[in-house]
């Protein structure tokens, strides 16, 4: 939206990012779609398989991002991806979240009923005490402000990923309008 507005103000045409090997992004993301987003498949997938899928998928996405590193903002996005991949890899293939942070997202009683080191629902997160978390500062430990309509816990890596994507769309090279 910002990119389109920028192009409109400058009376030029917004150009979408010119990705190379787009099929790799599809190939990398597809397993995550089945593991986390599609209810019919995510219900029966064992946690070990899901952890393997998440790490493999992020490695492939890292390859895709690196091959497109010349795009504006991509290095910031790669930085976020590397941080997330690092913390996920050293914590059993899932993103750690503390019970305290999780209780900001769902009722505290529900969090207490979940055993530690178990997955937080069917998300990418695993419930871990901060003292048992490797690279805890990279975990999902930040909370959206109370006034924000969507309560969400995110990591430093997520901030970099969102910044990189925003930067990429907002600062795409523009082209002059032509027939």
């Amino acid at each position: 939206m910002v990119g389109s507005l920028n192009a409109y103000i400058k009376k030029q045409v917004f150009q979408a990012p010119d990705f190379k090997i787009t099929w790799l992004a599809v190939l990398a993301f597809a397993p995550q779609f089945f593991a986390f987003y599609l209810p019919a498949t995510r219900e029966w997938m064992p946690d070990l398989l899901v952890a393997m899928i998440l790490v493999t998928s992020q490695v492939l996405l890292l390859a895709f991002a690196y091959l497109n590193r010349k795009l504006v903002g991509m290095w910031v996005l790669i930085g976020g991806l590397v941080l997330n991949l690092a913390v996920i890899s050293v914590n059993g293939g899932f993103m750690p979240i503390s019970p305290e942070t999780a209780s900001h997202l769902v009722p505290a009683a529900l969090v207490q009923s979940m055993p530690l080191e178990s997955r937080f629902g069917k998300s990418k997160d695993i419930l871990l005490l901060p003292e048992n978390t490797h690279l805890e500062w990279l975990a999902d430990r930040l909370i959206a402000p109370q006034w924000f309509p969507l309560q969400v816990a995110y990591s430093v890596g997520d901030i970099l990923i969102a910044t990189g994507a925003f930067w990429m769309l907002a600062h795409q090279p523009l082209k002059k309008e032509s027939l």
Binding site: V26, D125, G157
Partner: protein, 47 residues
């Protein structure tokens, strides 16, 4: 009119191709962001 028609056809094809490229690029970026990021939103526990 005869000249305009093919021009219009070429123009419409150009627009469609650009739109399709745009959709694919936005989809690729969405997949990259969704796949690389890991924010917890209720953990699929609620909602």
């Amino acid at each position: 009119m005869k000249n305009k028609l093919p021009q219009l056809f070429v123009f419409s094809q150009k627009i469609d191709r650009k739109k399709i490229q745009m959709i694919f690029a936005i989809l690729a970026l969405a997949m990259l962001v969704l796949g690389a990021g890991a924010p917890a939103i209720g953990g699929g526990v609620i909602g």
